[in-house]
Amino acid sequence: MSAIFLILASIGYLGLLFGIAYFSERLETRNPRLVNNPYTYALSLAVYCTAWTFYGSVGRAAYSGIEFLAIYIGPSLMAPLWYFMLRKIILIVRHQQINSIADFISSRYGKSTFLGGLVTIMALFFIIPYISLQLKAISSSFSLLIDRTSSLGASLDGRSLLGDPAFYAAMILAAFTILFGIRHLETTQKHSGLVAAISFESVIKLFAFWAVGVFVCWGIFESPTQLFEQANSHEEIAALFRFDATATVNPLTWVVLIVLSMATIVCLPRQFHISVIENQNPAHVNKAIWLFPMYLFLINLFVLPIAVGGRLMFSGQGVDADTFVLSLPLLEGQTELAFVVFIGGLSAASSMVIVSVTALSIMSSNNLLMPWLVRTRTVREGLEVDLSDRLIHIRRILTFIIMLLAYVYFITLGQKAPLVSTGLISFVGVAQFAPVILGALYWKDGTKRAATSALLVGFAVWAFTLPFAALADAGVLSEGIHQEGLWGLSILKPYALFGLEGLDPISHATFWSLLLNSLTYLIVSQFSQPSALEQKQANLFVQIHRYIAEPKEATMWRGKAFLRDLKPLLARFLGEERSYQIVQEYSISNGLDLENITEVKAEFVERVETALAGAVGAASARLLIASAVKEETLDASEIMFALDETKEVMQYSKELEEKQAELETTYKQLQQANGRLQAMDQLRNEFLRTVTHELRTPITSIRSMAQIVHENPDLPLSKRAEFLGIVVKESERLSRLINEVLDLEKMEAGHAKMNLQRLDMVEVISTSVERLTPLVQAKNQQLRWKAPNDPIWIMGDRDRMIQVVINLLSNAIKFSPAEKGIVHLELKIRKDQVRFLVRDNGKGISGEALPYIFDKFTQFNSTREQEKGSGLGLSICWRIVYLHQGKIWVESTLGQGASFWVELPHMKNSL
């Protein structure tokens, strides 16, 4: 096959992925279920099946028989447990805005920066070789397919950087990851394009693999039966699929691999990312429990037939079994099929690379780079610059760095190892996370110190028994280590640690690393004290269901916190707009005036911390908050710890005194609150009486008129029509009134959600004017509105703003005389405020009515209009403007028209 065709086809395929990712993100706004459904989710989980599955399973099956199945049986056994475990992890991750497995572990163990960094570094060690494995798969399948006689084919021999297909693969995949994996800063926003592309790839690789399987079974051989019959005549091949004493499978190895893969299906950073972080709905797990094992079953169905077929066809030719999938079609001259296989392999490899690199770059930025950046003064104190963009750039640069590292590993060490062993070495490494994660979920007593020690021990044992040993095997390190042990100590032999012999290297490493890791975790936990924060996180993780049911949590901050310290932090890391939203949500839900907030409650500090954690990780968020908030004293549980440790009763009594004083203040505050409540109650009663009165008026007309029509069948038709017309009109008035009362109630109680967004007031007013133009024309009035040329931005709820403008405008139209009425509109920026004026030349408002104009049910003008208002319109306007942190007021002299002013905070263009 010509090199240029293959290159173009590969780029075309990746282009197709781009397209799928792009369009599913676009279409998602119209049809959210496109990506947000359990089938897409289950397919995306199949990112588990990499090039290792695609090429390597056959390779391993060709010499070790059904041993390869173990790493698919593990996840299948694990799947039913997801119902409890994975769902729990998802809940915790949502609650704490966690964005990677490193963040998860760090967050559980007291938001430890060190632990987050450690997990990240370990993950980089485990996963980068694994990524390079995928590059190797792409590159070798490419080399196998291309025609070496052409000049382009000959130049792509991998001897130089620019002649190496793996290098190009690495760079294109990095670009894809950046475009679709690193989109949003906060993890509450999902990368649905990425998930769609990964699911698509899962379909492609399954299809391609089946194509080869069917071809081998029915194309090369007559039927599967014939294939296996032929194999039975070769003793060593037949042993591959036998379970009796002559079987090649070692039962112990099987069990070890099953346990390993059970751990990795949760702990692999890419699995954690796709199954937890990108999960859109915890309920999707329920279907994935059977869909995912089914996928694993389907993709493994033809492994053994292909392996056996390959052994038979290439008997004694020294063809690498890892390439059977590709070389069998080539042997039979099936170039098209080989091409399909190549694309399948590319999809398996690229999906793994994209998701892994996404997860690793988020981990590196949040757990390695951020804690360091946050500690440097420039980031913390140069508060003018918006950092949110820069953070995304950092992640993008990290993506390239990680891909480059994988590539460098590929050209240095990676070429030597077979597909499976590199993968298994990664698996053993990743499984080291399992004990601390299990503990995080189900055991409150695990401490930070224990988790750190356990991970360090596991990491060290892994490093010694696998990569270190492999380097010695490869001759990079002295081979003598295998005979004499490290430093000549016979108990430190990499393949026979502490004298344990007779195991294969993987089982041996798994046994020692997981055993010592878990023991360290359990033992150190018994001998170390958790801090209060650790305890709180432990409770939250283990009992997440209870936390979600009752969101009241013991707060960790008791110091003074000021909005002026927190707001710049938010703006810096999440951007101006998001920051504004968070602050405004707080002010609205607490009924506070934004301008008057100085000190903020602990609950807000926690809200800010969680929001920051979503962007920079729990540990960094913790550091940022600590730098901004002056913490004074500890909370109750931490005080109890202090007592346990030092028995300083003096301090305890001092705390008691403080508590006493605190109680007194609380009591006073309660009394005041009670007084306010009573006053509010009175207001409420008055309001209810007025509402009742207002409701009774239309009901009276309706009842009376209806009764007249009902009891006078011989009423003249014209009278009848008049009276029924009144019934209809009054009914309309009644329902309008009810709607407005409910609307106002909702806003006053703080239940109405303002959907705040950047809003162009020019557009809002123009839209409102358009809607009312017919009314103006009907009364033959003039409406004067000259729209400014440039947009004027505010933060606001569009529908609510239109409601305000229409209300003021229709009042103006209503109270201006027909024929001679002039309604004048104006919009301008004054200082930091947007000012908006509606002026009419109606009869105006009397001086005594002016102060009550925005009160409920003030019908100032006792008009004789056909449509009498409800008396609530201006109250609603006032409330909406208030909820937007703005002001509304009126200027008027009786007989000379009225001017209504609205003032709202201006949003600068610089976002």
């Binding site: 008026t697 009276t700 007309s701 009764q707 006078n712 009276f723 009144i726 009054e730 019908q859 004789r864």
Partner: protein, 128 residues
């Protein structure tokens, strides 16, 4: 007196035009002569011009409310005996008391049954 040989005249005072229209119809159906006023001021004017035998008076009205209007009627020497029916959407005991204090004969809450209103008017016309 003069009004015994002419038609009974009823003054209807309500700021809600639709309610006034309904009462107006009901009174005319009974064969009474009617006039409608839309607030207290207009009502006092109409009393002088129209010399009603009976007043149906809404309580909550702009400018001069029903209670003030009733007090004014009771204080004038010429019309102090005209029977007054209060019509109101307020129905607490306190509100009723206020009505009787201001000099109302009867008190009817909105929304009302047409028959009740007619019965009240007829009763006052006979005995008032």
């Amino acid at each position: 007196m003069l009004n015994q040989i002419t038609k009974t005249r009823v003054l209807i005072v309500d700021d809600e035009p639709n309610i006034a229209t309904a009462i107006d119809f009901l009174m005319q159906q009974q064969g009474y002569e009617t006039t409608v006023a839309r607030d207290g001021e207009e009502a006092l004017q109409a009393i002088a011009d129209f010399q009603p035998n009976l007043v149906i008076l809404d309580v909550m009205m702009p400018r001069k409310d029903g209670l003030e209007t009733a007090t004014a009627i009771r204080q004038s020497s010429a019309y102090q005996d005209v029977p007054i029916i209060f019509l109101t959407a307020r129905d607490s005991e306190q509100d009723k008391l206020k009505g009787y204090e201001a000099g109302g004969e009867l008190y009817l809450t909105k929304p009302f049954d047409n028959h009740d209103l007619v019965a009240m008017v007829n009763e006052l016309r006979v005995y008032g």
